[in-house]
C-alpha cells in the first residue's frame, strides 16, 4: 500500500492508496455523517448519508465506498456535499416514525444526532407513513422495525461476525424488510451486538425496555468476568442498579463486541434471590443476624472445629476476583491448611501448568489451522471462538476431537468423535502419527498405540500449517484422565510446532493459578469433599451446580461434625441445608477487583454499584475474618493493595510429570456441559438469557448403540435430562448439555 496525500476540506491528510475516504476522515477527526458504515463490517454504501463532493466528479460520492487516490480533493461540508447529505436525511426521515419520546434509543440515537444537523424542522411528506410488523426475535432483542432505516448493519453483523445468517433483507423497494429468515428467533451467542450496531431504535435491548432514559444513567468502565477473555464493558447504572451493559472497545481483547452472556448477565445481579443479610444456623434453624454476630459465630466455629489447620478446607468459585482468591488462600494457609481449590468441576483436578496457553487473542486471528479438543468453543468462549472464525475467513482450517459434533460457525475439515475414555488413545494416535512423520523416536507409551487414518489426517493438517494452534476446552474437566489429555495436547503441540490455548479452566482461573489457589501438598477439591475435614470455607460455591460430584459434596458437607462458613452472593437451597453461617458478599459489578485473562493481562475494575442489601465485598469479609482469627498480613485498606501484593508474587514454574497410562475407565461415561447461561451463579439468575434457545438447551445426547446398552429410549430421562438419541455422539458416552444442576440428576 502506498502512502498518499489527499485534501479533505482544505486539510492535507495522508492515507493508503485505495483506502476508503471515510476511514481517512475518521482518523483525522473530520466528521462525516453515516449510518450503514461500520468500521468492523463490510462496506454497503446503501444509506448514502456519507455523500461528499469530490472535485472533478459531477455527482456527490459516498465516502465509505470511494477509494482514495493521490491528489484527491474532497469536500465534506461544502454546498454540494451538504445538499446531498440533507437530501438523504430527508428521505430517511419521511417514513421514520419520529417516536423519539417513547424510543429507548432516544438520546443515543445516530439518526437523532445526525438529524439535528442535517434534518429540517418541517416535514414535506404528507402521505401515509410506512408501518412494519414486528415478528419478535427472542428474549434479548426488542424489535421496532418501523424505525428501521435499512442500513443492514445487523444483517452484515450476522453474516460476517456472528457467522450465523439470521437477519436478512426481504422484499424490495419500499417493502424491503429487515427480518429473520426463520421464525425460530435469533440463536447466535453474540446476538446482542446487533443492538450496539443498530444506529436507530429498531433493535434495542429487551430486558432494558422502558427501564430508564439513556441520559439518566452513569456509564462505568469495567470488565466482564464470565470467561477467559475479560471483555471490556460499560455498566450503565441508575439509582445504584446496573440497568444495562454495553461493549467497550478494546482492540486487543474484545475488539468492539461482547458475548450475550457478558451483556445480559447483569440481570442476575439484580435478581431477588440474593443473600442480603448475614445468617446463622442455631439448632437447625436459620436466623438473620448482625455482621458482628455472624463473624463471631463463624470464627468461633472455625476455632472449635478446626483445632488443627489440616482440619480446615477452602473452596472458591472460579469467578472470584484476584483479590478475593489471594486473600482466601492467605487466610487458609494462615490457618495452617493447604487444603484449598477452585477446580470444583474436575473429576481429576489437574495442574494447569501441564498445558499453558502461549498464544494471544490477536495472534489467534493469524493461525492457519486449529485443532479443537474437548470443546464446544463457540458457546464456551465466544470471543476466542470469534478470533478463530476470523482466521477461518482468511483461509484457516479447523479440526475437532470431541464427544459430539457441534454446531460451529465455521466449517470443520476433520472431526473425530471420541468418548472421554478413548480420548487418550485418539490423542496418542495423533501424536504417534506426528512423531512418525518426523521420524522421531517414540516414547514407550506410544508403542502399542494404533494409528488410524483420521489421526494421520489431523497430523497432516497440523504439519502442513505454518501457524497451527491446539485448543483444549471444558469437556476435559470431567475426564478422570484429564491430566493425561492435557499432557498429550501439550506433546502434540510440541511435535507439530503449534501454539497452545488452554480454555478448559474458565472464568478468572488465571488469577487462581497466579495466587496458587490449589494445594501444594494438601487436599484438592475432590479430596476436601471426601476426607474427614471438619471446618470449611466456601466462597460463592453452589455445590449442586458447581461440584462434579455434587451429591457426595452435599452429603459430605452436611455431616454433623462439619462446620461450614459460606460466603455467598445468592441464596441456595443446598447451601442452606449444610452451611452453619452465611455471610452475604457482593456480586459482579458490586466489588472492585481484578480479572486476569487468557493473555495474562490483569484488568482491574472498581465497583459500579454498591453491594446489595448488607452484603460486603468479598475481600473485606475475608480480611475481617482473618483479623478476628488474629492472622497476620491482612492490613489492607484498599483492594488495589491486595492486587499489588498478589501480582508481585512469581508463580512457581516446576515441571510436572504426567505418566500416560490410559488408565481403566468405565464402558460408558458422561460428559456434562452446562449451557453458557448456566456457567456461573450470576448468569444462572439472568432471566432473559434463560429464555433464549441457548439458555433452554437441555438434552442428553446418546447414540443408538449406547442407548441400547443403557436401555435408554427417546422420552426417557438420563440424570434428569431428556434423552435424545442421535448419531452425532461418540459411542460409549452420553453428552449432556443442560441448564439443570447436576444434583437434579442424582435425585
Amino acid at each position: 500500500m502506498v502512502d498518499i496525500e489527499i485534501e479533505i476540506d482544505g486539510k492535507v491528510v495522508h492515507g493508503h492508496s485505495g483506502e476508503n475516504l471515510i476511514s481517512i476522515a475518521d482518523r483525522e477527526g473530520i466528521e462525516i455523517p453515516r449510518f450503514c458504515y461500520h468500521k468492523k463490517l463490510s462496506v454497503a454504501a446503501n444509506c448514502r448519508m456519507c455523500l461528499v463532493d469530490i472535485e472533478g466528479n459531477p455527482n456527490a460520492q459516498p465516502a465509505c465506498s470511494t477509494p482514495s487516490s493521490a491528489g484527491m480533493k474532497v469536500h465534506t461540508k461544502n454546498e454540494k456535499a451538504k445538499t446531498a447529505q440533507k437530501a438523504v436525511m430527508e428521505f430517511l426521515l419521511i417514513n421514520h416514525p419520529l417516536d423519539c419520546p417513547i424510543c429507548d434509543q432516544g438520546g443515543e440515537c445516530e439518526l437523532q444526532d445526525v438529524a439535528m444537523e442535517y434534518g429540517s424542522n418541517v416535514s414535506r411528506f404528507n402521505e401515509g407513513k410506512r408501518i412494519v410488523d414486528d415478528k419478535g426475535i427472542g428474549a434479548l432483542i426488542q424489535t421496532d422495525m418501523t424505525r428501521c432505516i435499512h442500513c443492514t448493519r445487523c444483517v452484515r453483523f450476522g453474516a460476517e461476525v456472528a457467522g450465523i445468517v439470521e437477519m436478512g433483507a426481504t422484499g424490495r423497494g419500499e417493502d424491503l424488510k429487515i427480518e429473520p429468515f426463520l421464525s425460530e428467533g435469533i440463536q447466535s451467542e453474540l446476538s446482542g451486538n446487533m443492538i450496539d450496531v443498530c444506529p436507530v431504535g429498531a433493535l434495542t435491548s429487551k430486558p432494558f425496555r422502558y427501564e430508564v432514559r439513556s441520559w439518566q444513567m452513569n456509564s462505568i468502565q469495567t470488565i466482564a468476568r464470565h470467561d477467559l477473555v475479560g471483555s471490556n464493558i460499560f455498566t450503565q447504572t441508575h439509582k445504584s442498579k446496573v440497568k444495562r451493559v454495553v461493549a467497550r472497545d478494546n482492540e486487543n481483547i474484545n475488539e468492539t463486541w461482547i458475548s450475550d452472556r457478558d451483556r445480559f448477565s447483569y440481570q442476575g445481579v439484580n435478581n431477588e434471590n440474593r443473600v442480603l443479610i448475614p445468617k446463622i444456623k442455631i439448632e437447625g434453624e436459620w436466623q438473620d443476624t448482625s455482621w458482628d454476630d455472624a463473624l463471631d459465630f463463624a470464627t468461633n466455629g472455625i476455632k472449635k472445629h478446626a483445632k488443627e489447620g489440616s482440619q480446615f478446607g477452602t473452596l472458591a468459585s472460579k469467578n472470584a476476583t484476584l483479590e478475593e482468591l489471594y486473600l482466601l488462600q492467605k487466610f487458609t494457609r494462615g490457618l495452617g491448611s493447604d487444603n484449598l481449590d477452585y477446580r470444583l468441576d474436575a473429576s481429576n483436578p489437574y495442574n494447569a501448568k501441564v498445558l499453558e496457553s502461549n498464544i494471544s487473542l490477536t495472534e489467534l486471528e493469524t493461525i492457519d489451522h486449529a485443532l479443537i479438543v474437548n470443546s464446544y468453543l463457540r458457546l464456551e468462549q465466544p470471543m476466542i471462538n470469534h478470533r478463530i472464525r476470523k482466521a477461518t475467513l482468511n483461509g484457516a482450517s479447523v479440526s475437532t476431537i470431541n464427544a459430539k459434533a457441534f454446531d460451529f460457525n465455521y466449517r470443520i475439515s476433520h472431526s473425530v468423535l471420541t468418548s472421554p475414555q478413548n480420548t487418550v488413545a485418539t490423542l496418542s494416535g495423533i501424536l504417534k502419527a506426528l512423531l512418525d512423520k518426523g521420524s522421531q523416536t517414540l516414547p514407550d507409551y506410544l508403542n502399542t498405540v494404533t494409528v488410524h487414518q483420521t489421526h494421520i489426517d489431523i497430523a497432516n493438517a497440523l504439519l502442513n500449517a505454518k501457524h497451527p494452534v491446539v485448543v483444549l476446552g471444558e469437556h476435559v474437566n470431567g475426564n478422570t484422565c484429564s491430566d493425561q489429555v492435557a499432557k498429550l495436547v501439550s506433546e502434540i503441540a510440541k511435535a507439530s510446532d503449534a501454539k497452545t490455548l488452554n480454555a478448559s479452566l474458565t472464568g478468572n482461573t488465571h488469577s487462581a493459578e497466579r495466587v496458587n489457589f490449589k494445594p501444594d501438598n494438601g487436599k484438592n477439591a475432590l479430596q476436601i469433599l471426601s476426607s474427614d475435614l471438619t471446618a470449611f470455607a466456601l466462597f460463592d460455591v453452589y455445590p449442586n451446580f458447581d461440584c462434579i460430584d455434587s451429591e457426595n459434596a452435599i452429603k459430605h458437607l452436611s455431616r454433623d461434625d462439619a462446620f461450614v462458613v459460606a460466603m455467598n452472593s445468592f441464596d441456595d437451597e443446598s447451601v442452606l441445608s449444610f452451611a452453619n453461617v452465611i455471610l452475604p458478599i457482593a456480586s459482579f459489578y458490586e466489588t472492585s477487583g481484578t480479572h486476569i485473562n487468557v493473555d495474562n493481562i490483569a484488568q482491574s475494575y472498581s465497583a459500579s454499584v454498591k453491594s446489595a442489601g448488607e452484603s460486603k465485598p468479598g475481600w473485606k469479609v475475608i480480611k475481617v475474618l482473618a483479623d478476628l482469627l488474629n492472622l497476620q498480613g491482612f492490613d489492607f485498606t484498599d483492594s488495589s493493595q491486595i492486587a499489588d501484593e498478589a501480582l508481585s508474587l512469581t508463580p512457581s514454574i516446576s515441571e510436572i510429570e504426567v505418566p500416560i497410562n490410559n488408565s481403566e475407565m468405565p464402558n460408558v461415561t458422561t460428559v456434562w456441559q452446562y449451557t453458557p447461561y448456566a456457567s456461573d451463579v450470576v448468569v444462572r439468575h439472568a432471566s432473559s438469557l434463560q429464555q433464549t434457545r441457548i439458555g433452554q438447551m437441555s438434552e442428553a445426547s446418546v447414540c443408538k448403540a449406547t442407548a441400547k446398552l443403557l436401555e435408554l429410549s427417546e422420552g426417557d430421562f438420563y440424570k434428569g435430562v431428556p434423552v435424545n438419541i442421535n448419531e452425532s455422539v461418540a459411542e460409549g458416552c452420553v453428552f449432556v448439555h443442560t441448564h439443570l444442576p447436576r444434583q437434579l440428576g442424582v435425585v
Binding site: 454497503a44 414535506r124 435499512h150
Partner: protein, 424 residues
C-alpha cells in the same frame, strides 16, 4: 433496414444454425479457431467500428473489452445482458428469437479476445420463447463443435450457458445481474470496483448487451470501417429501434444511426388519422421526454438526441399523440419505478414511493399547487445520489414531463381532471 442483428427476421427457420451459416455466420469464429485473427486485431476493428454499448449507456464496446486484464491469471467471464426490461424495449427479444447464433458467436469472440473461457447469457424471466430458442441454438453450436473445451484442437475454449431471470427489472442493471447470476438477491453493487476487475464470483467480467454482442460478428467479417460508415460521427453503424405507442405499425426497425426521427416514424406507419404528435420518449422509459417540435427535428443518434435533451438509451421509442394525458402517463411510469426499486439505497427506496404517491394523489383529484415543485425537488434529490442508475431513471421522466407539460399538470391539480378530453 434490418441488415445486421435482425437480418434473418424474414427468413424461413430464422434461428437455425443453417440459416445463420448461410448468411455467413461463424466465419469469424472459424477464422479465430484457425488462428487467423488475433485479439489485438479484433479490438482494433471494434474501435474503428464505433460500436457503442446498445444496452443504454453507449459506452464504446472496443474500449470496454480492452479494459479486461486479459493476461491476468485465473478465471474470467463474459456475460450477456438479455434482461431486456426497459418499458418500450423489445428488440433484444427478437434478436434472441430470430438470430440467436449471432449472440453466441459474438460472445464466443468476446471470450476469445478477453481470455474468458466461460460465458453466461442472462435472459429476462418472462422471455420463455427466446430462452428456448437460444437454448436450441446453443445445443446446435455444441453439437457441431463450435463451443466447448479445446474446440477442434484449436486450444480455444469457450463454454456458454443461458440463465433465466426471475422477473425483476433491476436485474438488468449489470451488477444486480451478476448478483442474481450468483444466486443472490438482485441488488446493484456499488462501484468501484467495476466488473472488469471484480465481477462475477469476484472475477474479471465483461458485460455487454445482446445487440452489442450480436453486432460483433458482422463488424468483424465486413470490417470496422464498413460498420462505422453506416452511421454518423460518434454513432457508428446501425441500431435496432423498438417503436411503440401511438403509431400505426409498432415494430422493431434496425436502421442506420443518424436516420431522422421523422423517417423512423414513417417506417412505423406514422400516427393514426387526425392525430398530432405530442411527445416522444426516445430511449426507453428512463430517458427524458422530448416534446414534438424538437423530436421532429432530431436524428436517431447519440449526439442529436442528447442535443434534444434526452438520450438514445436502449433505442426504445415511445410515441405519444395528442390523446395522451401526460399526468396519467407519468403516474404510470412513477408506479413502475416505485414497484421495481430494489430498496437497497435510501433515495430510491424512499423517493420513488414519495413521487408516486404525490402523483397518485393528483390523479385522485387531491393535488395541491405546491405538489409540482415538491416533485421537482424530490426528483432532484434522487438524481446522482443512488447506488445505481434506477434512481436517475425514476427521476428523469418526472423532471421532463413536468417541465415540458407543466400547464397540463397545473390543470389537473386545479380541476381534478385531465386537460386531455379523450383520456380524462
Amino acid at each position: 433496414m434490418n441488415n445486421i442483428c435482425l437480418k434473418s427476421i424474414d427468413k424461413d427457420n430464422p434461428s437455425s444454425l443453417a440459416t445463420y451459416e448461410e448468411m455467413g455466420g461463424y466465419k469469424v469464429w472459424h477464422k479465430i479457431l484457425h488462428g487467423e485473427l488475433s485479439p489485438e486485431k479484433i479490438l482494433e476493428e471494434l474501435k474503428i467500428s464505433g460500436l457503442r454499448g446498445r444496452g443504454g449507456a453507449g459506452f464504446p464496446t472496443g474500449l470496454k473489452w480492452s479494459f479486461m486484464p486479459r493476461n491476468q491469471e485465473g478465471q474470467k467471464y463474459v456475460v450477456c445482458n438479455s434482461d431486456e426490461g426497459e418499458p418500450g424495449t423489445c428488440h433484444d427479444r427478437d434478436i434472441l428469437r430470430f438470430n440467436p447464433h449471432s449472440v453466441i458467436e459474438g460472445m464466443a469472440i468476446a471470450g476469445y479476445v478477453m481470455n474468458a473461457t466461460v460465458g453466461y447469457n442472462y435472459i429476462r424471466g418472462e422471455f420463455m420463447e427466446p430462452y428456448y430458442r437460444f437454448e436450441e441454438a446453443l445445443k446446435e453450436a455444441y453439437d457441431t463443435g463450435l463451443l466447448g473445451t479445446n474446440i477442434n484442437g484449436s486450444k480455444v475454449c469457450f463454454d456458454l450457458y443461458s440463465h433465466l431471470g426471475a422477473g425483476a427489472y433491476i436485474c438488468g442493471e449489470e451488477t444486480a445481474l451478476l448478483e442474481s447470476l450468483e444466486g443472490k438477491k438482485g441488488q446493484p453493487r456499488f462501484k468501484p470496483p467495476f466488473p472488469a476487475n471484480v465481477g462475477l464470483y469476484g472475477k474479471p467480467t465483461t458485460i455487454n448487451n445482446t445487440e452489442s454482442f450480436a453486432s460483433v460478428p458482422e463488424i468483424l467479417s465486413r470490417g470496422g470501417q464498413w460498420f462505422a460508415d453506416l452511421g454518423v460521427v460518434n454513432s457508428g453503424g446501425t441500431k435496432c429501434f423498438s417503436v411503440t405507442g401511438n403509431v400505426k405499425n409498432p415494430a422493431n426497425f434496425e436502421i442506420p444511426m443518424g436516420t431522422p426521427f421523422s423517417d423512423l416514424l414513417k417506417l412505423a406507419g406514422g400516427l393514426r388519422k387526425g392525430r398530432t404528435l405530442k411527445g416522444v420518449i426516445p430511449g426507453g422509459s428512463s430517458t427524458p421526454l422530448i416534446p414534438a417540435a424538437k423530436a421532429m427535428k432530431m436524428t436517431m443518434d447519440y449526439d442529436s438526441i442528447e442535443k434534444a435533451g434526452s438520450m438514445l438509451g436502449a433505442g426504445s421509442v415511445i410515441v405519444m399523440d395528442d390523446t395522451t394525458c401526460m399526468v396519467k402517463a407519468l403516474t404510470r411510469l412513477a408506479h413502475f419505478y416505485y414497484d421495481e426499486s430494489c430498496g437497497q439505497c435510501t433515495p430510491c427506496r424512499e423517493g420513488t414511493g414519495w413521487m408516486y404517491r404525490v402523483l397518485k394523489r393528483i390523479m385522485d383529484g387531491q393535488g395541491k399547487s405546491e405538489d409540482l415543485n415538491l416533485l421537482l425537488s424530490v426528483q432532484d434529490k434522487i438524481i446522482g445520489n443512488t447506488i445505481c442508475a434506477l434512481g436517475d431513471a425514476a427521476a428523469m421522466p418526472v423532471e421532463s414531463f413536468i417541465t415540458h407539460f407543466r400547464e397540463e399538470f397545473e390543470y389537473y391539480i386545479k380541476h381534478g381532471k385531465s386537460m386531455v378530453e379523450s383520456d380524462g
